[in-house]
């Protein structure tokens, strides 16, 4: 609940959103991740997706938004979209199937804009319907396609090179229009009318870009920011305790993970037994509490690595409810069983070489550094000497790209199903030998034909049963082979204050991830009510 002064405190019905992204340029191109519009998140106040999907519950079908109906057929090779009637762009022109089709054409024709690399082929508008045809099954891409935002054809037709345009005056179907944009602050205001559904209560949203986390947290603490997505160490002391009644944060997991990767081509890390043993000793609680401040990247100890609860529907029945247990003796016996020896408290591999590992991390990434420090301690318990080496980010990126590392913390892709995440971990089609750069996933150089096959099956299967089977296979491989060791789930959340506005998503009402830059941000804004 809010206080009675809240409404008085916010007579203009302003919502202050902050992000620690540094000064922005006036760039409102909705297709580019580099634009201020995307960075700050006001993209979704202006442009709207065809379908509103909730990442927290990936299995839910999604809310019809600009499309009222979407029908897949021909094993996900064909999609028929029914476009909503009565939607108007903010310049007053009606949105039609033409606009939707035009948007897809833009993506198809401009490789640079097609960030998701969806292989669009046939795009045919007809009446209030648009039909998309594909050469391959788009099962795994369905979310990406349905979430596509719609731009007005009459505006974009006149743009010479859509990838190089700053779109000074963005026009979309969303409830807000851009009022002003300066490097520090961008302001959107509610449309005077003509929005296709009930207008939001928030009249104006101010997006402020702070230069670093400290400034952003400061702003949250002193109320200058009411909604943000930023890492807060010791959040209780620093943030929520400052106003426990109003200051909240919520960071639900999404279907992507962070974890410890090995170059699985390098001995002894090519030995699944060793990896399994390590999996048994990594203290995920410590990582969660100390590295991730007890909330940031949610703890992930599901044996399959699939974050819960978002991934619950995908976990094979035999693995449901199983979590990794800290088990140092178990790890030790597993190792001795596999021919490893302990001399004193040092581990050596079957060939007698001591097992050591160099863990690398970009020097400024404090949570990963902390995670690795913890892992280093954990590994010492089974006699593995680890060193944490901080290097600069670019060099680290390069070492990831070429496989020039022994162990490191890295993330995976995110998707509507665990497919994307598993694909990143063990897709043999993406394998490149150590030393060769240009890799796109599979940083661990993991090669397992069964896994590759299972991934292909999952993407192209004709029926759900085959998919479920493939998913189970992948999970089994993950457990048996442990190509990487998940430590945390990726999140999509945020900090918010209920002082002026209520109606935010939370555990009780998880209708959207509370992150101001995701599509769902619009859904959240539409849910907000002034605190009374």
């Amino acid at each position: 609940g809010g206080s009675s002064t809240a409404a008085q405190g916010n007579p203009d019905a302003v919502l202050n959103v902050g992000k620690p992204d540094g000064p922005q340029a006036e760039n409102n191109n909705p297709f580019l991740e580099t634009s201020a519009l995307s960075n700050m998140g006001y993209r979704w106040m202006i442009y709207e997706p065809l379908v509103m999907l909730n990442r927290v519950k990936p299995q839910e079908p999604g809310k019809p938004w600009l499309a009222t109906k979407w029908d897949w057929s021909d094993n996900y090779k064909k999609l028929v979209l029914t476009v909503r009637d009565g939607v108007k762009f903010s310049d007053g022109q009606a949105m039609t199937a033409e606009d939707v089709a035009y948007t897809f054409q833009l993506l198809r024709d401009n490789k640079a804009l097609n960030v998701d690399a969806v292989p669009y082929k046939d795009i045919t508008p007809a009446g209030n319907q648009v039909t998309l045809g594909f050469d391959t099954s788009q099962f795994v891409n369905q979310v990406k396609i349905l979430q596509t935002l719609v731009v007005p054809k009459h505006v974009w037709q006149g743009i010479k090179d859509p990838a190089l345009d700053l779109v000074k005056n963005p026009i979309g179907t969303g409830p807000y229009t851009l009022k002003s944009a300066t490097p520090q602050t961008m302001i959107v205001t509610r449309r005077d009318g003509g929005y296709w559904q009930e207008a939001p209560k928030v009249k104006e949203i101010r997006y402020t870009s702070y230069t670093d986390n400290n400034a952003q947290v400061n702003a949250l603490v002193n109320g200058a920011s009411e909604w943000s997505f930023v890492f807060i160490p010791n959040y209780k002391a620093v943030y929520t305790s400052k106003d426990p009644q109003h200051y909240k944060l919520w960071f639900p997991a999404q279907l992507a993970i962070h974890g410890l990767w090995f170059n699985t081509e390098k001995a002894p890390w090519n030995d699944p037994k060793l990896r399994q043993a390590i999996n048994k000793v990594i203290n995920r609680d410590d990582i969660f509490n100390q590295g991730e401040a007890g909330y940031f990247y949610p703890k992930n100890d599901q044996v399959t690595g699939i974050p819960t609860p978002a991934g619950d529907p995908f976990i094979a029945p035999q693995y449901k409810g199983q979590s990794v247990q800290l088990d140092v003796p178990g790890a030790k016996s597993l190792l001795t069983g596999a021919g490893y020896q302990f001399t004193g408290d040092k581990l050596s591999d079957p060939s007698g070489k001591p097992v050591t590992i160099k863990l690398t991390v970009p020097s400024g990434w404090s949570d990963y550094v902390t995670d690795l420090e913890i892992i280093k301690d954990n590994l010492a318990q089974i006699g593995i000497t680890a060193t944490v080496e901080k290097m600069n980010q670019d060099a680290w990126m390069k070492s990831v790209d070429t496989g020039d590392f022994e162990g490191l913390m890295h993330w995976t892709n995110d998707g509507a199903t665990p497919y994307d995440m598993y694909r990143d971990v063990m897709d043999g089609n993406r394998y490149k030998p150590t030393g060769q750069g240009g890799i796109n996933g599979n940083y661990g150089r993991y090669k397992n034909d069964e896994a590759t096959k299972a991934l292909e099956t999952y993407a192209n299967a004709e029926d759900d049963a085959a998919r479920t089977a493939a998913m189970a296979t992948l999970q089994r491989i993950m457990i048996e082979q442990q190509p990487m060791i998940p430590t945390s789930a990726a999140n999509s959340g945020g900090e918010y204050s209920t002082k002026n506005w209520v109606g935010w998503p939370d555990d009780a009402n998880p209708y959207a991830p509370a992150q101001p830059t995701l599509r769902n941000a619009l859904d959240i804004v539409l849910h907000l009510r002034p605190a009374v």
Partner: protein, 326 residues
């Protein structure tokens, strides 16, 4: 005139060399802007986007470094600084017009004030050796030895906070829209106070010290003794004779400081979330944004050179001995 012409040739050469170095050095960094962008977003941009980003940034064409170098010069001569990667496709020049004024106003004014106050105190300290102003020296030395980001953070913690007059971040109030209206200017000034104070405190010491030592040196010159012997009023001797001459070496230091305004304030801008060039450069380096880096380097180089030229001219104006004539 001939002298200035000579300097000009020198400046042109230096500018060329600096621009060339500025072009090649950023390209020594391993990796590329796309990877940096992906790393920055840690999974928020999917790995599938790599290809589209390469296409977007135009990095898919394999051009040799040398031909890029010549293209770059071509661009420069057209007055085109290129397009930033981080803020693709915003032209670098737009970014600079956004950020430069902030830096120039904040740091420029504080540099000038710092120089003026520091030099003034230095004059008095040097003239009245042993007086209380002289006693300030150890204090200012200590203050100027404190890393100023640290000073800034402490100042933020102690002075800024909920309800404080000093805002804790930004260049202006988020509610105001930049423009020449009193509300905005007032808020901009209010926001600049703390960073300005930090810069002032940590930069004044060296001015005081330099000027004091020069004053002590100059005070023992014969012409100062003559000025005393002439029975001139003390102020006239101090200002017109001693300080006027002692100032000369500080002029080039000051000019250089003016030149480094653009580049030297990275940390202040980070600490105070101030929307200036320093932070932009830091960001550009972090994300391998060559065009932006080069653009900022170019500005820094040019402003240092311009400041040097200014120093030359100022010297010419201040020190008649450098005006060589037959």
């Amino acid at each position: 005139m001939r002298y200035l012409l000579q300097r000009l040739v020198f400046y042109v050469f230096t500018a060329w060399a600096a621009v060339t170095i500025n072009f090649f050095i950023p390209r020594m960094i391993p990796g590329d802007p796309v990877q940096s962008l992906i790393a920055k977003n840690q999974g928020m941009i999917s790995a599938d986007a790599i290809q589209s980003l390469y296409v977007l940034f135009g990095l898919d064409k394999n051009e040799s470094l040398i031909s890029q170098y010549f293209d770059y010069w071509g661009q420069l001569f057209r007055g085109d600084l290129g397009i930033s990667f981080t803020f693709f496709p915003t032209p670098v020049s737009d970014l600079l017009t956004d950020s430069l004024p902030w830096t120039i106003i904040l740091v420029g004014i504080t540099t000038v004030i710092g120089f003026a106050i520091g030099t003034g105190l230095g004059v008095v300290a040097g003239w009245k050796r042993g007086s209380w102003v002289d006693g300030l020296l150890p204090v200012t030395t200590f203050l100027s030895s404190i890393p100023y980001f640290w000073l800034g953070l402490i100042a933020l913690t102690l002075l800024a906070g909920p309800g404080s007059f000093f805002p804790s971040s930004g260049g202006y109030d988020p509610g105001t829209v930049p423009g020449w209206d009193p509300a905005f200017i007032g808020s901009a000034i209010q926001h600049s106070l703390l960073p300005a104070l930090t810069i002032l405190i940590s930069s004044m010491g060296s001015w005081i010290l330099g000027m004091r030592n020069m004053m002590v040196t100059v005070a023992s010159e014969d012409y100062v003794t003559v000025a005393h012997a002439k029975g001139l009023p003390e102020r006239r001797v101090m200002v017109g004779y001693a300080a006027r001459n002692a100032l000369l070496p500080s002029v080039s230091g000051f000019a250089l400081a003016l030149g480094f305004i653009v580049g030297g304030t990275l940390l202040v801008e980070i600490v105070f979330s101030y929307p200036g060039v320093g932070y932009q450069l830091f960001q550009a380096v972090g994300s391998q944004d060559y065009p932006l880096m080069q653009g900022i380097f170019l500005i820094i180089t040019l402003s240092v050179l311009a400041a040097n030229l200014l120093a030359d001219v100022a010297y010419l104006a201040l020190d008649p001995r450098t005006r060589k004539e037959g």
